[in-house]
Each structure stands twice: as C-alpha cells, then as structure tokens.
C-alpha cells in the first residue's frame, strides 16, 4: 500500500441541491427529469449553467430507461453539453458515488464548480415489469438460467442476517414504519404514510419470505442534483457551504455465493476510508445524523452495523429503543429514505446526500432532526450485494 496521502490540496463543498418529485410514473423524459433536478440545484446555489465547468452523471442500468449509453443521452438534460461530462457507475451505490467522483473533479484543481446529477426512470421498462430488468444483473451463466427474481438475493441476505442476529421480522418492520412516517415531511415523497403500523408491514403481501411488500422500497422515476465548488468559489457562492469531509467506497467480490451475507464487510471498509479522511474515530459519537441506504428495511440495520453506528446485531435494538427516530440520539434516515421517499436507484442515493446537505444547513424544515447537526453521513449500496459508497459532510 502506498498509503493514501491525506494532505489533499483543495477543500470541496456542496453549495446547492435539487430534487424532482419521486413517483411511480412520470411524464417527463429521463433528460427532462435530470434537467428539473439540475435546474433546481443551480437555482438554489444562485448559479447558471455558464458557471459550471464539469458535469458528473450517475444512473444505474441502461435497461431501465431503455437507452444504451445513457450517460451520453442524459448529458443534455444534466447540463453537460460542450463540457467535460462523465458518467460513473457502481450499480445501486451510484447515487452517493456521483458526488464522490465530483469531489476529485474539484479537489484535483481542474474544475471549480461541478454539477453532479443522478437520474432513473424505471417506468420505461414497464413490460412485463421493471423488476424483470433485474433478471439481467445475475451471472448470465451460473445464475440467470434459474430464472431468479432480484428479491431472492435480498431475502437471502435478510434471512441470513435474521438467523445470525436472531432478529425478528417485527423488529425489522419498525424501520419501514419509521421511514414511511418520516417521509411525510418530504415534499418529494412517494410513499408517506403517517399511520402505518408494524402489523401493516407484516400483513402485506409476502413476496419472497422473509420479504413482504412493505419491507421493500417502490419502483420510482426521479432525479436529484447537487452543485460542488472549490473552497474559494464556495465562499463566494454561499455563507453556509457544507464541506465534504470524507469519501470512501469498496467493492467486494462478484461471487456473492462464496461468502457470508450476515455482515457488510465492504461497507465497513468504505466507511473506514471515509472516516480516516474525515478524522472520525468514533462514528457513533461523531456522526450526528445518517442516511444509510434502505431499499429494504433490514438494509438500514445492516448498514448501520457496517458503518460502525451500531455494533454487530445491535441495530434492531437501537431501532426498537427509538434511538434512530428524528428526535432520537442517532437519527437515521430522517428524509424517509428509499422506503418512504421512493427509489429511483441512483437518484435515491443522491437524495440522501441532498438530505444531509439540508440537515447540516438546518433547512430540512419539518424533517429537521432535534439534535444539532455538525456532521452527517450518506451511504449507498449496490451491485451483487457488494458495493458500498460513503460520504461524510459537515460544517
């Protein structure tokens, strides 16, 4: 190991964020969804497209939108024409990876103001069902001939986690309840339900035991965007820049059937990288609010443990005790997460980064957590249960 040099030259800040509504089906084209989010982020930062040097795009499989080379297609709506534009990609973990890649665009000194845009339009792949697209993420030779549904892999991980941690479905369902209630404070939310109870989750349709319908985030269309700037530019743009303090990401082996699924080691490694850069040695104390990736309710628990915000098998207990509520000691997914706001894959990850931006600035309004926020964290996850991306932001 050559040893990462932590004395990087340029500090990088987030200075604006934008979101579309997240909904099951949207009329706008993928380009237009990207534009809606990008425009809002620019407006919030008080910038125009002329101020932007570089564009980073994130989007998960091309097979959702039904456009090959989706980055090329999205460039126009993301404000990336006649500019250096690049699309980065780590499956479901892409949303948080977009600002990570945008970070080095600025930290390298080569770009001063960067627009980072994530978009997903799952409704295009409507026939027979957007879930069908996930059939093609499995190994084409040793797995796909078995006709798998994507939920299998999550259900297997969830069940293994339940087995190892002796976690009950009731405990896990609390996450879905919390997040769908939290989502009622989010103007973009697709699945706000202020009255949802654990029984509703447990009584919803069983899809792949132990996964019920309300354990899963929905199929969504949507886009998100953030503007990043160098220190000098950030201070010019706003009085309250939110600094990117740490970035980290890890990909585990592709061969998920060869390893234990009970603990996300790759998230731990990703978090370690980000924490080292941010100077965090006790995340449970030093992170004030976190947005771990929650496409399934058990994933929030799984990721809290990977991020070191809970000990192994401790996350269900913290959840039951109310620690992860908005007014708790460690608020988790105050936005409502993917379970409540919706899950347009890459856009959902970037939505989490936007949430931390607003939480740190105290602009989350109805969603603002009770404790003061100095440092927040967003995390996403993807590929064949192997990718972890982490960003730490703060004042």
């Amino acid at each position: 190991m050559t040893g990462r040099n932590l004395n990087f030259k340029h500090r990088v800040a987030v200075v604006g964020a934008g979101l579309t509504l997240f909904r099951r089906r949207m009329l706008e084209t993928p380009q237009e969804l990207a534009w809606l989010a990008a425009k809002q982020a620019l407006d919030e930062a008080g910038l125009t497209l002329k101020d932007i040097d570089c564009v980073v795009i994130g989007s998960a499989p091309d097979a959702f939108d039904g456009v090959h080379m989706k980055g090329e297609y999205l460039a126009e709506g993301a404000g990336g024409i006649h500019k250096p534009t690049v699309r980065v990609y780590v499956g479901g973990a892409t949303g948080v990876f977009v600002p990570i890649a945008a970070w080095w665009h600025v930290a390298s000194g080569l770009c001063k103001r960067v627009l980072a845009v994530a978009e997903e339009k799952m409704s295009h792949s409507a026939k027979p069902h957007p879930q069908y697209v996930f059939r093609y993420i499995w190994d084409p030779i040793v797995e796909k001939p078995l006709n798998p549904n994507l939920l299998w892999i999550f259900a297997m991980e969830m069940h293994r986690y339940m087995y190892r941690c002796k976690a009950k479905k009731e405990d896990i369902a609390l996450v879905a309840v919390k997040n769908k209630r939290n989502a009622c404070g989010h103007p973009s939310a697709q699945l706000c339900d202020p009255n949802i109870k654990v029984e509703d989750v447990l009584n919803s349709e069983v899809l792949v035991w132990p996964v019920n319908r309300l354990d899963v985030s929905p199929v969504s269309d949507g886009a998100a965007a953030v503007v990043l700037a160098s220190e000098e530019e950030a201070r010019r743009i706003t009085d309250t820049p939110v600094w990117i303090k740490g970035i980290g990401w890890t990909l585990d082996t592709t061969h998920w059937t060869n390893r234990d699924l009970a603990y996300p080691e790759y998230v731990r490694r990703a978090a370690e990288m980000a924490y080292r850069m941010a100077g965090i040695d006790n995340p449970r104390r030093q992170i004030d609010v976190a947005e771990p990736y929650d496409p399934f309710d058990y994933k929030e628990l799984h990721h809290m443990e990977g991020l070191g915000l809970a000990k192994k098998c401790e996350a269900p207990i913290l959840t039951r005790e109310g620690v992860t509520q908005r007014d708790g000691d460690l608020p988790i997914n105050p936005s409502g997460g993917l379970l409540g706001v919706g899950n347009p894959i890459a856009a959902a990850g970037l939505m989490k980064v936007a949430e931390i931006f607003w939480q740190v600035r105290g602009e989350a309004g109805a969603r603002q957590v009770k404790k003061p926020v100095y440092t927040g964290l967003a995390q996403a996850w993807g590929d064949l249960m192997q990718a972890g991306t982490v960003i730490v932001m703060g004042i």
């Binding site: 250096p84 980290g248 585990d252 990718a387």
Partner: protein, 380 residues
C-alpha cells in the same frame, strides 16, 4: 503533481477470442500490465481501480459488478465509468491530482463477438422519440451523414478517403495486433455501404482488453524507470441529440484537445506534437480528427496527408498503428488501444518510423451516435 503511466498490458485484439471469457481477458491484460509495472502487487499497492464499459455491450445489467475480481480489486476501491477507456484515464488523472490517490489502475474490455444484434444494440443509444421509430437497418448511415457533410463542406473527395485507408493498412502491417491490416487493400473494390462510405471506410470490431497503471510522480519511479507522463487529458460531450451537433466538424474533439493542450501548455500542437494516435473508426474521421486536434488547419488534412505529412516517417505521423481501421474497434477499449500503442512507441519498445517520440497526443471518439471525444497529451 505529475501523473505517469507505469504499466501497460493488453490481451486479445482478435476478431473472436474463443477460449477466454471477458473476465479472463481482463485478468490476462491485468497480469501483463502489473508485470510491466515492475511486478506491482494489485492486492497491496493499488489505491483504486477504474473500469470502462457499458451494460448493453456486455449483455448484463449493472455489469460493473464483474469489475473487481479479474483485476485484483476484490474488497478494494473499484468503480466503473460508462465511457471510453481514455475517460477512465482522465478520472485516474484527477484522482491522483487530488492528492488522495497514488496508484490507480484503469481497465477496459470489449467482446463485440459476443453480441449478435450489434446494429440494434447501437441503435438503442439513439433518442426513443425523434429517431428510434425509424428503425435504421444500418447505424453506420448516421456516420455517413457526417461524412457527406464534412466532405461537401471542405472539398474532400473519395480519393482522399482512399489515401487514409491505404495508409492505415500499410502502417498496420508493422503492428502485431492489427489483425485487419491488409496492405494492397483497394477501397474502391469494396462495396458501398452507405454513400459515401464503402466497406473499407468502416472499421471492423475486435475483442480486446487493455489495462493501464497510473501513478503519482511521488511513487512512479518505484514501478518504472521510464514513466510516460500524462500532461493533459480532457473530454467533451458536444450534444446528446445528433440533430443539434455540428454534422461537418467534430467540435467535441476540438474541445477535448484544447482542454488537454491547455493543461500540457502546448500552444502550437502542429509544431510541438511529435506523433498522434487518433480515432479513425471511419476513414474520414481521421481527417476530421487531425483537424480538430489542430494538427492541420480545417479542411487541409486531406492535402497534408497526400503530401505524406501524416504517414510513417512523415512530418507528424498519425496512427502509426494503423488505428481502428487496422486493429478494429474493441468498444470502449479503443482509447486505451491508442494510448498503449503510443506508450510503446515512446518507450522505444515498438519500432516505429518516427523521428522523435517525446510528445504525443492520443484521441478517442465514442462512435455513433455519440458526440463525445477524449484527448490526452503524453510526454516522456
């Protein structure tokens, strides 16, 4: 902090690699690259890995999930860029410049022989509303529209395309991986595909993988005594919709090259660049890209080419490798193929007919229907 190329490895460059899967091709290219980098151990000495590919080329959704293992990146920082291999080099360049990374590995692989419906797959990259309903039987027709616009605007004739094709096949003979090189190939004897393009104007596809190791100036010498420095790399997307892009001139290549030249402090490329490797997946593209890279004033590449300026041994040799016309197009590996050949020439490992090989510019375009180019300036 300068960024250097300290290892290069490639595998394939065959019309069909029958015995190895794309993952195994990645592994073999990576093995060679790490050996080239003084026996670098990817498990302990690399900070991050970048893979360049697109889902529909692979026939897998979220194909980036297959990136880590074959290059030694399992449980390490690996990600994918949906772009040309040179864009990955651009990302690695920025990562190293940020100061957070010292050694970054760039990988790209392409296995066109696995794709049965290539025309339909490429066509899926066009706009679903304005173009897709037309159902083009040959996506090369979109390139032919550009060819006609360029040729008509700048007075380029078919004989000039003939000269490009002839030069590529002649040069390719000396390139051991140029499987399609056939000197004496007569362009006019090949059938018209889409006017003005004939079969010989269109590069064929090829299976290949290339891996490149980049390192910061601080550590580069640990791995290689003669790093090839990347002194500038930039890219540009001109437009998403072909309807709005310049049909006659590749502005994207101009914008990419200008960015790279600025970083490398090159004021007069025609004088300062010793040789170039540019995209020529269509014969006319070589002329366009020579001009876009400011190696000839607009509309004059055809004449300078006729004078031998861009031929091996000429004033500024372009595509000593024969380029894509001789090697084939390995999807997103294309840019790394151009780069790895240039590195070989600069290190003196490839005996090429060039006076001086100290400064090179390499370029890649992503092919139709994109308007995206990447350019990099290399120095030794």
């Amino acid at each position: 902090m300068r960024v250097g190329i300290v290892g290069v490895g490639w595998f394939g460059f065959q019309p069909e690699v029958v015995d190895y899967s794309f993952r195994e091709m990645m592994f073999k290219a990576a093995q060679r690259a790490y050996e080239d980098a003084g026996g670098l151990d990817p498990r302990s000495e690399v900070d991050a890995f970048v893979s360049c590919q697109e889902d529909f080329w692979e026939g897998i959704s979220i194909a980036d999930e297959f990136a880590p293992d074959p290059v030694g990146g399992a449980m390490k920082s690996v990600y994918t860029v949906a772009g040309d291999g040179l864009q990955c080099v651009g990302q690695a360049y920025m990562m190293i410049k940020s100061g957070l990374f010292d050694v970054v590995v760039v990988e790209s692989h392409g296995k066109p022989s696995d794709v049965e419906t290539l025309n339909e797959v490429i066509f899926t990259a066009t706009d679903p509303i304005s173009l897709r309903p037309l159902g083009l039987e040959n996506v090369h027709a979109l390139a032919a529209l550009e060819a006609r616009a360029y040729m008509s605007k700048f007075g380029v004739a078919e004989e000039h395309l003939e000269a490009v094709v002839e030069k590529a096949h002649k040069a390719g003979v000396k390139n051991q991986r140029a499987v399609y090189a056939s000197p004496g190939k007569s362009r006019s004897a090949t059938p018209v595909v889409a006017e003005p393009l004939r079969e010989a104007d269109v590069a064929k596809f090829v299976d290949a993988a290339v891996v490149v190791v980049l390192a910061s100036e601080r550590v580069a010498k640990r791995y290689n005594d003669t790093p090839v420095w990347v002194d500038g790399v930039w890219w540009s997307t001109e437009f998403s919709s072909l309807e709005f892009h310049d049909w006659a001139f590749p502005l994207h290549a101009r914008e990419a090259a200008d960015g790279a030249y600025t970083q490398a402090k090159i004021a007069d490329p025609y004088k300062e660049v010793d040789f170039a490797e540019v995209d020529n997946r269509y014969s006319f593209k070589e002329l366009q890209h020579i001009e876009a890279l400011r190696l000839a004033p607009r509309g004059t590449a055809k004449d300078l080419l006729a004078d031998g300026a861009f031929c091996p041994g000429g004033r500024l040799p372009v595509n000593l490798s024969g380029g894509a016309l001789a090697e084939g197009v390995p999807f997103e590996v294309h840019g790394l193929a151009r780069l790895s050949y240039a590195v070989g020439v600069m290190r003196g490992e490839i005996k090429a007919d060039v006076d001086k090989a100290e400064t090179a510019v390499v370029h890649s375009w992503r092919g139709i229907p994109t308007a995206t180019s990447v350019a990099a300036v290399l120095r030794i």
